[in-house]
Point group: C2
Chain length 230, copies 2
Amino acid sequence: MKKIIGILGGMGPAATADMFQKFIQLTPASCDQEHIPLLISSIPDIPDRSTALLKGGPSPLPAMQDYVNRLISAGAKCIVIACNTAHYWHKDLQASSSVPILSMIETTADAALQSGLKKIGILATNATLTTGLYKQEIEKRGLTYIEPSPEDQALVMESIYTLKAGNFDKAHEIMSKQKDNLFAQGAEAIILGCTEVPIILSKEATATPERYLDATLLLVKRAIHWYNEK
Amino acid sequence: MKKIIGILGGMGPAATADMFQKFIQLTPASCDQEHIPLLISSIPDIPDRSTALLKGGPSPLPAMQDYVNRLISAGAKCIVIACNTAHYWHKDLQASSSVPILSMIETTADAALQSGLKKIGILATNATLTTGLYKQEIEKRGLTYIEPSPEDQALVMESIYTLKAGNFDKAHEIMSKQKDNLFAQGAEAIILGCTEVPIILSKEATATPERYLDATLLLVKRAIHWYNEK
């Protein structure tokens, strides 16, 4: 069996490319053939996850199931989803998938617990916050969960959609203040809990990795571990 | 019909990620859903193309055919190959593919002709040079084709494999001298004719785009044109 990892991406494409780059960078390969085999779906017409959860827009689930099935039909033996908010449908996707779908949320919460830090901040979409995706997993592990204020959270969303529209510098300017505010609220580490956020704060996360839990990076490490298991 | 573009990649993964990024950057999208739908194979166990052509190593064709078929079975309606040297097998791949496979070599040679420049240098693998992949297409269009000297070409190869092994800075230091030598030989523009080379010389190609024919970028533009055709 060829252990191919399928990436359900397109939510958005830049976040998918970031995950792909992290697979490449985390693989100690001296030639092409030693890299991890990946199949990537970056078909971006999946209905907006936040709009579905907060404004009653069309569900992204059927399109996500379709693309997971395409990855499996092409040979993927394990799936990762390059979008935190989409994990709201993780159980539904797993139920209709013949291969395991590793959870970015549980993987990140496990890493928070293992870090030994107690107060965990979060930068994520409104939908990820409203549905309590991370809150439940963080508090279940006995840790304190710290969200931005409603005013700050509106700016987090503005930053994420500014990046999706291609303006990195403006997205960074807005997001940088929001992580400062979370640290000021007592956060000892911040979950970068939307796949756009590690791109926006990549300089900070590289400089002081102990202060950030990059959900994309942690899921990639988890997937490489799956790949290397006998 | 959903016009999904399939990328046959993994040769190597970094070059595939570069092509993916170029699709994202060249799409004027204001939200996820406006991006180009892509399916990407980055399964890197394809036998080395240069070793096959120059040292009688195993042919990469069966693996490439397998992965093209996986992309088609998952829904790709058009294929691009993220490797110049692999285009030696373009006709064989097209013969066994039910969808069009756009040629990076012909696309780049067309762009050289349209540039109005007459003397075209090349930075590519030994195998791409030995098989005359670009030479034939450039000279067929009435242009002059300029290769590195054998000593310089050995350094071009060293730079490419240094990048594949993850050392950008050393790869750049070596390659930078080779492009200077081609310009000194009279080249008016240089084809970046191995998918690793636009990564190595990305700063130069961005600063003076009129002096470089980035084969990856040109193929992405050609594919986006295919996508936008009625």
